[in-house]
Symmetry: C2
Subunit: 88 residues, 2 copies
DNA sequence: ATAAACCGCTACGAAATTCGTAGCAAGAGG
DNA sequence: CCTCTTGCTACGAATTTCGTAGCGGTTTAT
């Protein structure tokens, strides 16, 4: 599964998640992703841009239309997680 | 995000995906996950069992009810990926 | 009963990924 | 100028994953 392989790289899902609301700068993303190291973050952003899920605009990094499609499928998962985590 | 952290470990999603239809043996899972090394596979299974998403029965490894709930949210993502991948 | 095959899993060194920190070049503002 | 912020690179250390070998146990075939 190509997608799973891509998403299971560290911070990949977190990036998509944090770009959902509004464009974010590099450093903004960094903070929101538990202070991910800039090298990994940059690598991940390159990968996500290469497959056109994320793009860079003047406002910062943001989701492409395709990226948003993916996010829409990712959101239920995140929502479900909110209810699930406390049960641990 | 605790769930994202868990799922973004190698093979985690693949395991859930492959347990969806029927219980699988250790070695069966191994093949289906692109010949993941037994050490990682075992580590991942331990983790997934610890949070009770997966359990071990006489028939092999299988999803718990909670695991299935998660899978139900994961499936749309996989389905979407099928349509998406060709566009690369 | 013995061999052959399959099972779950451990061991362990090599390879790849990620982390953490430091810091540079470029642009904005004072 | 000087300072601040931003995007990003560098690089060694720490962690994760890989690949392969193999052990002990159970079933199947001979």
């Amino acid at each position: 599964m190509v997608l799973f392989d891509l998403l299971s790289r560290r911070w990949a899902m977190g990036i998509l998640w944090n770009l959902a609301d509004e464009p974010r700068t590099f450093r903004d993303l960094q903070e929101r992703c538990g202070s991910a190291s800039p090298s990994v973050l940059n690598t991940r952003l390159k990968e996500l841009r290469q497959v056109e899920l994320v793009e860079k605009t003047e406002g910062g990094y943001t989701l492409t239309p395709t990226g948003r499609e993916l996010f829409d499928r990712l959101e239920p998962l995140g929502d479900w997680a909110m209810d699930w985590v406390p049960t641990l």
